[in-house]
């Protein structure tokens, strides 16, 4: 089942250019998964290796590719990796990471600042 979307993907002619890089990253995953099915730790290590060379912004492309290929395990892994990358980071960092801009009105923005400040207020430090 994992391979039928892949087959269509190769059948469509003009997919060559940019997505090649993504394809080489994502497509070997199912094979590797089958080989290391029982051993989760080994799979984790393989995945860590894979991502060490990938730029953070590339991750969003990987997610879209995994989604397109209907590959749930890879999707879960890439989403978790992005989640880990944006945790404990400022709101501005997250915006830059995704190339987003704030579209809140000034009044809303002020309210959100207060809300954000509240989330830091009075939490016991260890």
């Amino acid at each position: 089942m994992k391979f039928c979307t892949v087959k269509q993907y190769f059948d469509d002619e003009n997919n060559n250019n940019v997505t090649n890089g993504i394809a080489t990253t994502v497509i070997p995953l199912p094979n590797k998964h089958l080989k290391i099915k029982a051993n989760n730790k080994e799979m984790e290590q393989y995945e860590q290796e894979l991502l060490r060379n990938v730029m953070p912004q590339e991750l969003t492309k990987l997610i879209l590719a995994a989604n397109y290929l209907n590959f749930k395990e890879a999707l879960d892994f890439f989403c978790r990796t992005v989640a880990n990358a944006i945790q404990n980071k400022s709101v501005d960092y997250v915006r830059k990471f995704f190339g987003l801009e704030s579209d809140f009105e000034p009044g809303e923005e002020e309210k959100l600042c207060k809300e954000f400040a509240w989330s830091f207020e009075g939490v016991d430090e260890d």
Binding site: C79, R80, S102, D103
Partner: protein, 378 residues
């Protein structure tokens, strides 16, 4: 996003593999036309698809950051942009289905006005500052009574003639009605035995603000014009004293308009309800009273079982059960389950444990009345 071949892949996904013919059609268009069409198609799909995938990312942030202070990261997700905010709010509202009894977690300040958990109460601490007549509510992060936890709300008691009142705020340093952080207030009658609880936000669509002097003054400082400013009456707390035994336990009755879980912020759902029913029955009333303590002949005192969460005897200590509970089938309360428990554990430290249908704000407000009644003897 000038990467056209990448966008090109996205538009082909639309056909889900059936796009073979579509792909060929693409090739016959001129380059500029392709670019335009692909861009339009992709933007529409990109937005739709990304929302779902963004949700997957944010869900993973939410699930791994259940406890404060790390829960700040979920709040951060809600501050990125409007779409992120909407997705984050949805993720917070619907916890992972793998949880057996999904516990609503306090994430945004708005969660403070949402009902608490159904089964295991949220355990909180209230710290009193006698000098400044201020009270601080914290969500306990450890079982210890000396660790404060996550700050939730602050309140300041004021006396206006013979009336006692409290201002409740999200900001421990700004306890004024005109502030952005103003959440609600309480005011008592002349005797200090009846308190009215006001919410700064309408509890349901169509609610009208109370017409008091202070609410008209407040209206000029409103930040978002969409939300009507003012104070909305949402509940009452009454104390009745045991006249026969002056040191006997007092009786408390609380009346609340309780939104059902999920109803509060979604005013649209009220429109779908059978319009023949009168408005007041849609969001029902919840009536609570305090559980009567038992006289312990041997110890010569009134006793309630606080299960270790209250350690100092005080006339302020209480447990509330429901006579009427709109979150239960038939609207009937079981008069047994303790929905709010409040009691002393130190000179200026009190525990507050609350659960559905009460929200943190309502629970805090009820507990504050305990500090406001002048006829209490301790």
């Amino acid at each position: 996003m000038g990467d056209i071949s990448w966008i090109g892949t996205m538009s082909l996904r639309k056909g889900k593999g059936k796009g073979k013919g579509k792909g060929k059609g693409f090739l016959s268009l001129k380059e500029e036309e392709v670019e335009e069409e692909v861009k339009e198609e992709a933007e529409g799909m990109w937005a739709g698809m990304v929302a779902e995938l963004l949700g997957e990312i944010i869900k993973r942030v939410e699930r791994s950051e259940e406890q404060w202070p790390n829960r700040q990261n979920v709040v951060a997700c809600g501050c990125v942009c409007k779409r992120w905010r909407e997705i984050t709010r949805q993720v917070v509202r619907s916890p992972s289905p793998s949880h057996i009894s999904a516990v609503p977690k306090i994430t945004f300040p708005s969660c403070l006005k949402q009902p608490g958990p159904r089964h295991i109460p949220h355990q909180c601490l209230i710290k009193r500052n006698k000098k400044t007549s201020t009270f601080y509510l914290y969500l306990a992060l450890t079982p210890s009574f000396t660790d404060k936890g996550k700050f939730l709300l602050a309140a300041r008691r004021y006396r206006h003639g013979a009336h006692t009142g409290f201002i409740v705020s999200l900001d421990a340093d700004d306890l004024s009605q005109g502030s952005n952080a103003y959440v609600g207030k309480l005011s008592s009658d002349f005797l200090g035995t009846n308190f009215t609880i006001y919410d700064s936000q309408p509890p349901h669509s169509g609610a009208k603000p109370s017409s008091s002097r202070s609410s008209r003054r407040f209206a000029s400082k409103q930040i978002s014009p969409q939300v009507p400013a003012g104070n909305f009456e949402v509940g009452q707390v009454s104390y009745k004293f045991n006249l026969l035994k002056s040191r006997g336990p007092r009786r408390m009755v609380c009346l609340f308009k309780c939104p059902l879980p999920g109803e509060a912020s979604n005013s649209k759902s009220l429109d779908n309800i059978n319009t023949k029913k009168p408005e007041y029955s849609m969001s029902g009333y919840t009536v609570l009273r305090n559980k009567a303590p038992r006289w312990h002949e041997h110890l010569q005192c009134w006793c309630l079982n606080f299960h270790g969460r209250v350690t100092v005897a005080s006339v302020k200590n209480f447990q509330l059960v429901a006579i009427a509970d709109q979150s239960q089938p038939g609207g009937k309360g079981d008069e047994e389950t303790v929905l709010l428990q409040f009691g002393k554990v130190g000179d200026d430290t009190f525990t507050m444990d609350y659960r559905q249908p009460l929200s943190a704000f309502q629970a805090f407000a009820i507990c504050l009345t305990s500090f406001g009644t002048k006829l209490a003897c301790e």
